[in-house]
C-alpha cells in the first residue's frame, strides 16, 4: 500500500545511517595492524629457543664423547704399561735364569758334554730373543734406543758367555760379565723407568684434555645461559607488549562501542525529531494549503451559475483529487508522528494504532492497558508507541498472524509492554532482524530491557520493561 512506503523508506535510510559509522571503523584496522607485533618476531623467538636447546644438546654430546675417548686412552696407556712391565719382568727373569744356568754350567765342566744342557741354554736364548722381539709398544725413539742398547748389551753379554763355552774365560772377562750383568739390570731399570714416565706423561695429557673439556663445557654453558636469559627477556618484552596492545585494543573497543551506543541513541533522537518536523511541515504547510484549496473549490462550485455543468464537473474532479491528496499527506504525517500521542495520550494512540492495523491488514489487534499515566515524558510515549508499532508491523509482515494482543501496564517503578501474536513464529537466536535491534536500541537507551520469545509455530511475544524516572508521574 502507498501508505506504508514512506515508513519503510525512512527506516531503510535510518538503518543505513546507523550502519555507516561501522565502516570507517573497519577501514582503520589495517593501519593499526602495523603496530601489532609481526609474526616474524614470534618465529625469531622460537628459532632462538630451538638453537639454545641444540647448543646444550650438542655440547653435552661432545663432552660425553670426549670423556669416553679419554677413558679409552687411559685404559690403553695402562694396558701398554702393564704389558711392557710384564714382558720386561719376564725378560729379566729369563736372562737371570740364563745367567744362573750358564754360571752353573761353566762352573761344572762335565756338564759341557751334556747336550741337554746345551739345548736348555739354546731354548733360553731363543726365548729371550723372541721376548725382545715381541716387546710391545709403538717404539717411540727414546724407547727404541733404550731397547736397542739393552739388546746390544744383552747380545754382547751373550757373545761373551758363548765364547766362554768353548774356551775357559780369561779372569778379566769374569769382571766384565759382572759389569755387564749390572748394566743389564740397569738397562731394564731404565726401560721400567721410561714406562713409568710414559704413564705419567699420558696422565698429564689426559688431565690437560680434561681441563680443555671443562673449559669448553663452561663456555658453551655460559653461552646457553646468556642466550636463555636473553630469550627470557625478549619473551617477557614480547608478552608485555602484547598485553599492552590488548589492553589498548580493549579500551578502544569499549570506547568505540560506547560511542556507537551514543551515536545510535542520538540517531534515534534525530530520527524522531526529523520525523516530527517533517510531519509538522506536511500537516501545517501542505495539508493546510490543500485544505484552503478545498474550501475555495467548494465555494467556487456553489457560486457558479446553474448552466455551467461542465466546469462544475471539472471542479468536482479537482476537489476529489485534492481530497485524496489531503488523505495521503495526512497518512504520511501520521506515520511519521502520530498526532494522537500529543492530542489524546499514549493509551488512545495505541488503541488507535491497533484499530489502524486491524483496518489495513488481515490481523485483528486488541489493546489492553492498565494504570498508564497520561503525563508520561514524551520520549517514553514515543518509545512505547514505536515499539508496539514495530512489533505489530513485524507480525503483519512476517508472521501471518490472525490476532495480536497489546498489553501495556504501568507499575510503581515503570511500564511493562507486551505484544503477542498467534503467527508462525521464528527462531530468535537465528533471525534477529534490524527491527528487533531497533526496538532494543530504543528500550535500552531509556534503561529498559527487551525480550523476544518465539519458536517456529509458536507465535511471538515481545516483552519490554521500561523503568520510569522518579520524577515522572506514576499516578493512574
Amino acid at each position: 500500500m502507498v501508505r506504508r512506503a514512506p515508513e519503510r523508506d525512512n527506516k531503510g535510510s535510518f538503518w543505513a545511517a546507523l550502519a555507516m559509522p561501522m565502516a570507517p571503523e573497519k577501514s582503520n584496522l589495517p593501519a593499526e595492524d602495523a603496530e601489532w607485533p609481526s609474526p616474524r618476531l614470534r618465529w625469531v623467538l622460537l628459532g632462538t629457543f630451538l638453537a639454545l636447546l641444540a647448543l646444550i644438546f650438542i655440547s653435552g654430546a661432545a663432552a660425553t664423547r670426549t670423556l669416553r675417548e679419554m677413558h679409552r686412552q687411559e685404559q690403553d696407556a695402562r694396558r701398554a704399561l702393564a704389558e711392557r712391565a710384564q714382558t720386561l719382568s719376564k725378560l729379566y727373569v729369563s736372562i737371570e735364569i740364563y745367567n744362573l744356568d750358564i754360571g752353573r754350567y761353566l762352573g761344572y765342566p762335565p756338564a759341557k758334554a751334556d747336550p741337554a744342557v746345551r739345548q736348555q741354554l739354546d731354548r733360553l736364548t731363543t726365548e729371550i730373543e723372541s721376548q725382545l722381539d715381541g716387546y710391545p709398544g709403538d717404539r717411540k725413539p727414546e724407547e727404541a734406543r733404550l731397547l736397542k742398547s739393552f739388546q746390544e748389551l744383552y747380545r754382547r753379554h751373550l757373545a761373551l758367555y758363548e765364547s766362554a763355552l768353548d774356551a775357559p774365560l780369561p779372569p778379566q772377562a769374569r769382571g766384565e760379565i759382572l759389569t755387564m750383568r749390572a748394566q743389564l739390570v740397569d738397562g731394564s731399570g731404565q726401560l721400567n723407568a721410561w714406562n713409568g714416565q710414559q704413564l705419567h706423561s699420558s696422565d698429564e695429557a689426559l688431565l690437560a684434555q680434561f681441563s680443555r673439556l671443562q673449559a669448553s663445557l663452561t663456555g658453551s654453558l655460559s653461552i646457553a645461559l646468556g642466550a636463555g636469559l636473553l630469550l627470557v627477556f625478549a619473551s617477557m618484552a614480547y608478552i608485555l607488549r602484547l598485553e599492552r596492545q590488548t589492553r589498548n585494543r580493549y579500551r578502544e573497543l569499549a570506547q568505540s562501542r560506547h560511542e556507537l551506543e551514543r551515536l545510535s541513541s542520538r540517531l534515534v533522537d534525530a530520527q524522531e525529531e526529523e520525523r516530527r518536523s517533517i510531519s509538522r511541515e506536511l500537516h501545517d504547510e501542505v495539508g493546510q494549503s490543500l485544505g484552503a484549496l478545498l474550501v475555495d473549490l467548494g465555494r467556487l462550485s456553489t457560486n457558479l451559475p446553474a448552466d455551467t455543468s461542465e466546469i462544475r464537473e471539472r471542479i468536482g474532479r479537482m476537489k476529489s483529487l485534492a481530497e485524496r491528496t489531503v488523505a495521503t499527506v495526512r497518512d504520511i504525517a501520521l506515520l511519521l508522528r502520530p498526532s494522537m500521542l500529543d492530542d489524546l495520550g499514549l493509551v488512545a494512540a495505541l488503541e488507535w494504532q491497533g484499530r489502524e492495523v486491524s483496518r489495513r491488514s488481515q490481523m485483528e489487534v486488541a489493546v489492553e492497558s492498565a494504570n498508564v499515566s497520561d503525563d508520561l515524558p514524551d520520549e517514553y510515549k514515543i518509545c512505547v508507541y514505536r515499539l508496539v508499532q514495530e512489533a505489530l508491523n513485524n507480525a503483519v509482515r512476517h508472521s501471518r498472524a490472525r490476532t495480536a494482543k497489546v498489553r501495556v501496564a504501568g507499575s510503581a517503578g515503570g511500564i511493562e509492554i507486551e505484544v503477542n501474536d498467534d503467527g508462525q513464529g521464528f527462531d530468535p537466536q537465528r533471525a534477529r532482524g534490524l527491527g528487533i535491534l531497533g526496538m532494543e536500541e530504543r528500550v535500552k537507551r531509556l534503561g529498559g530491557s527487551l525480550a523476544v520469545k518465539s519458536a517456529p509455530g509458536q507465535g511471538t511475544v515481545v516483552k519490554a520493561e521500561l523503568p520510569l524516572p522518579v520524577t515522572a508521574g506514576t499516578s493512574a
Binding site: 500537516h283 501545517d284 495539508g287 493546510q288 494549503s289 485544505g291 484552503a292 478545498l294 474550501v295 475555495d296 467548494g298 465555494r299 481530497e323 489531503v326 488523505a327 495526512r330 498526532s339 494522537m340 500529543d342 492530542d343 489524546l344 488512545a348 494512540a349 488503541e351 488507535w352 484499530r355 489502524e356 486491524s358 483496518r359 485483528e364 486488541a366 490476532t403
Partner: protein
C-alpha cells in the same frame, strides 16, 4: 432574528479564513472572534461568550479536546463543534466526553459546517457521514472477532426511539414531553438501553448511535 455567534479556533490562518468564508455565507451566523490555539480559544470564549465554538482538535499548547472540556465546564450554554482530521473512535469518543456536540471531518467541513453549527445551536448532535461509516466498520470487526452479536436487535421499538433522542442531545424531560411519558419512565428506558448495549454514559451512547447510523 438573533444571529448565532461563532468563535473560530484553529492554529492555521488559511483554514480559519476558509471557515470564515463558509460561515459568512450563512446570514444567520456571524463570526465574533478567531483564536490560534487552545488557550486563546478558552480565554476568548470566556470574554465573548459565543453560542458556538468551532474548534480544531490538533492545536499547539492546549489541544482542542482539552479546550472543549474547559469551555463546556465554564460555559454550559456554549456548544462546541469539533473539527478533526481523524474519524477514529478514540477521537470521537474523547471529543464527546469533553462535551462536544458535533464532530466534523476537515475534509468535509466546507459542505457540512453550516449544518453542524445549526444542529449544535439547537442542542442536537451532528457527525460527518464518513465518521459513522468508519465507526461502524470498526464495530462490526470487533463483533466478528469477539463473536458477539449485534445487541441493537435486543432493543424494543420504544427503546430505540429513546436511544435516538438521547443521542441527539435531548434531555430526559424533553423526551418525556415529546413522547407523552413521565420523565421517570424515560429514565428507566434509558437505563435499560444502556444496560442492554453495555454502554457507560451519554458519550458512549452517542458514539454507538453514530456508529449505527441512527444519527449523523
Amino acid at each position: 432574528m438573533r444571529q448565532t455567534r461563532v468563535l473560530l479556533a484553529d492554529d492555521h490562518t488559511l483554514i480559519r479564513a476558509g471557515l470564515r468564508l463558509v460561515i459568512d455565507r450563512e446570514p444567520e451566523f456571524t463570526v465574533v472572534g478567531e483564536a490560534a490555539d487552545g488557550r486563546q480559544a478558552v480565554a476568548l470564549a470566556e470574554s465573548l461568550k459565543p453560542d458556538i465554538v468551532v474548534m480544531d482538535v490538533g492545536m499547539p499548547g492546549l489541544n482542542g479536546i482539552e479546550a472543549c472540556r474547559q469551555i463546556r465546564e465554564n460555559l454550559p450554554d456554549t456548544q462546541v463543534v469539533m473539527l478533526s482530521m481523524h474519524s477514529d473512535e478514540g477521537y470521537v469518543l474523547r471529543a464527546l466526553k469533553a462535551g462536544a456536540r458535533a464532530y466534523l471531518l476537515k475534509d468535509s467541513a466546507e459542505a457540512d459546517l453550516a449544518r453542524a453549527i445549526r444542529a449544535a445551536s439547537e442542542g442536537k448532535s451532528f457527525f460527518s457521514p464518513a465518521v459513522g461509516k468508519v465507526l461502524l466498520e470498526d464495530y462490526m470487526r470487533t463483533l466478528q472477532r469477539t463473536g458477539g452479536e449485534d445487541s441493537y436487535e435486543l432493543l424494543s421499538p420504544r427503546e430505540r426511539e429513546i436511544l435516538q433522542l438521547v443521542a441527539e442531545g435531548k434531555s430526559s424531560k424533553e423526551i418525556a414531553g415529546l413522547l407523552n411519558l413521565s420523565a421517570h419512565t424515560v429514565e428507566t428506558h434509558r437505563a435499560r438501553v444502556m444496560q442492554k448495549l453495555n454502554l457507560h454514559g451519554i458519550p458512549e451512547l452517542t458514539l454507538y448511535a453514530v456508529r449505527k447510523g441512527i444519527i449523523s
